[in-house]
Symmetry: C2
């Protein structure tokens, strides 16, 4: 599998901070960085952690190539001492945090990096890029899956976002419970189920809708999905049934009033004897549209734009903050920014999701320096992800996605039912710092 | 420079359509596809075309590798005949369209692909991903630059979006007039000006703010930018001036009421004799925040989240439609979808921006099959981008970005002044089809 060099997915200030701290000597101070979100996107009841596996995959390739070093030298971005440091760069510290697929709430310590300042500092942008993008998509996807109440959701938004974001979005959607994706690169990289049949252009290419349907059925079989709204939907359905017969797999509706259309198309299919032909709808759906289609006889939802743009919240707004480091006295000291409206909480965190007698989540408990003790029961939220520079293989690749999807299902099942409502509201459980 | 294989940035339906059309024979029909947006994002007065150069760069690497073909075979996504076709795939057609950096309006034919159906069909997702993402960012960036009225805007949003989107976003921002970016990979790939100094973590790493500033100045020089809001802003400014002296390059404000703060920090700097020390502000800015800071003594704007998420419009919603193809009779026929709310206009387009006597844009004229004639004057909007499979070198790499930025400046200068207002409104010029 092709691998990207990831080391320049970095903001320049990380390397200039590295340079200045190498000169002051502080670069080698042991340090603890924490990634967290100060708040959930407006109105959301919970967030979904995603991107963790991609961070681990990228970490393995986070090396500065000769070409990259030559660039940094030619542009005089850093000095020779820093270039020497980067030439040998290899993250050798520990990373722990929420397992991918886990839910998060305001101030949940989603990812903690422990290493020297230098090593942790250089990873900042790459870690945040993966977490912020993928968590935003997974958080939106999870609501769509909830709205669909068991009907399968298909990810098909690749064309609405950057081609690499599209791959990560497909991956994040599957973690949050989507059934399949149209994205082949994502299918290839992560072993995801892929789907796809035909677009309007295929119908328009042929001299008639019938010829197009015949061509598709001849090649893909009667079980295929025929797109019936290029010209007239009723005629499209009739032609589809005529061409494919009772074994026609599905029809796809991609325009118009979908609730109304799904109803009469279902009746028409039944009247024509196609009781097992399914109806897939795919036109600009989001979690609210999916919710409003629940009463209609729809068998699958194809979701595009709104999924890959996080349905109004395209980034998770996580930040990466130094929370503790060894000072001049040789001891770890908690540190925190005091700035107005952006204050942070210092100290190495541990997190437990407190549960009630029925196993429902009640509070996000965050301990500073020690494990918080839940009143009744609780589940530890932090797992080791990278140990002395070595990423846990189980979190990466196809296995990582499978585990994350399972984690997501289990964590969701712990939440109070209100979490799955589409109405805006506060975080469904409160975050409590325990010191 | 490292190159990505791009051929699997593809929705599965493109390959199943290819398979079905290879079987029906229609795959080899000459065809014309068009990328366009039915509307601008809500309230926007114009859009900015971006991504074109990246499409051309990606096209050079749009080949199916053996590993990719093995995947498609193993998953039985397509049949052997289709695999054989893909093994030799190389786009050999023509692409023309709006030069990158050009403005677009509803139905502007931004990109036109002419080739066989098979060749054009397979490119759909990759072309739309690049156009939709990059145009969304460039369109938002252009408004920010307008709001900044000549003060430099610095792109620093990498951490809020996917790591590869971040590179494309930096590139798109520079096309729309940003002065520099924090993203090193973008700097490397496209020869962009990069900037960056230090984060709060650098201050917190050291035992005091003074030690941190001393370390930064010792390494990066007195002309550096010191971040003064980790603890107390006034004390931060005083310490910064004390450490760096009158040559201090800039202070950065990243929290609080920026308008008020910029005013008193300016006075304080002046009182301390630091008349040439600049003020940079960087806290969650968007075009509206930039506008409201215009009366404040700010020298540069750092923009992050809102830039890379398109400031409320994270995708440009362009579509890619078959508009003409050779039919059974051997002649080109215009084709168009009739579906409710998603109708398209068939035919090969040409586009001219009509100008008035003073050289101001008045109408987007779109001719079907022939060049539309403007009443007074006009500028042809379409340029050849790819000829018989060979992309124009001038549109790619660093040269492509420079040309696109120049094109953008010139096109913006043609617009009526109202286009640069931040208020929501209709497209600033109307689109007119001429047949």
């Amino acid at each position: 599998m092709w691998q990207r060099p990831t080391a320049l997915f970095t903001d320049q200030y990380e390397l200039t901070m590295l340079q200045a701290s190498l000169k002051s000597g502080a670069a080698h101070r042991p340090a603890v960085f924490e990634a967290f979100a100060r708040r959930l996107p407006e109105g959301r009841r919970y967030g979904v952690v995603a991107g963790t596996g991609r961070i681990l995959e990228g970490l393995e390739h986070f090396r500065f190539t000769t070409e990259q070093l030559d660039y940094l030298a030619a542009e005089r971005i850093v000095d020779d001492i820093t270039l020497d440091y980067l030439r040998d760069f290899r993250f050798s510290g520990d990373i722990y945090g929420y397992a991918e697929g886990e839910l998060y709430f305001p101030h949940s310590p989603v990812l903690i990096v422990e290493s020297t300042f230098a090593e942790a500092c250089v990873l900042e942008t790459f870690i945040l890029s993966a977490l912020n993008h993928d968590s935003a998509i997974a958080s939106a996807a999870s609501r769509m899956v909830a709205a669909a109440h068991g009907r399968p959701c298909v990810e098909m938004g690749s064309r609405r976002t950057h081609e690499e974001s599209a791959v990560a979005a497909a991956r994040a959607a599957m973690i949050a419970g989507f059934a399949s994706t149209s994205n082949l690169e994502a299918g290839h990289r992560y072993g995801l189920t892929t789907v796809g049949t035909a677009a309007h252009s295929f119908t328009l290419l042929h001299d008639s809708e019938r010829e197009a349907f015949e061509a598709q059925v001849a090649s893909l079989g009667r079980g295929t999905t025929l797109l019936v709204d290029t010209y007239d939907v009723e005629q499209g359905v009739r032609t589809a049934v005529d061409v494919a017969g009772p074994e026609l797999g599905a029809v796809r509706l991609d325009s118009g009033d979908l609730v109304d259309q799904a109803r009469w198309v279902r009746r028409l299919l039944d009247d024509l004897g196609n009781h097992s032909t399914r109806i897939m709808v795919t036109s600009d759906l989001d979690e609210h549209a999916i919710g409003s289609l629940q009463s209609a006889p729809v068998d699958a939802y194809g979701v595009g734009t709104s999924l890959v743009t996080g349905s109004g919240a395209p980034t998770a707004s996580m930040v990466y903050k130094l929370v503790s480091r060894v000072g001049a006295n040789g001891e770890y000291e908690d540190v925190a920014k005091a700035a107005t409206n952006k204050a942070s909480v210092g100290g190495r965190k541990q997190a437990v999701r407190a549960l009630n007698e029925r196993g429902r989540a009640t509070t996000e408990l965050i301990g500073i320096g020690e494990r918080p003790t839940p009143a009744i029961a609780g589940r530890d939220l932090m797992v080791p992800l990278v140990e002395q520079g070595t990423p846990g293989a189980e979190y990466m690749g196809a296995e990582g996605v499978r585990r994350a999807a399972a984690r997501h299902r289990e964590s969701i099942s712990e939440l109070p039912g209100i979490a799955r409502k589409m109405q805006k509201g506060e975080a469904v459980i409160e975050t409590e710092f325990v010191t």
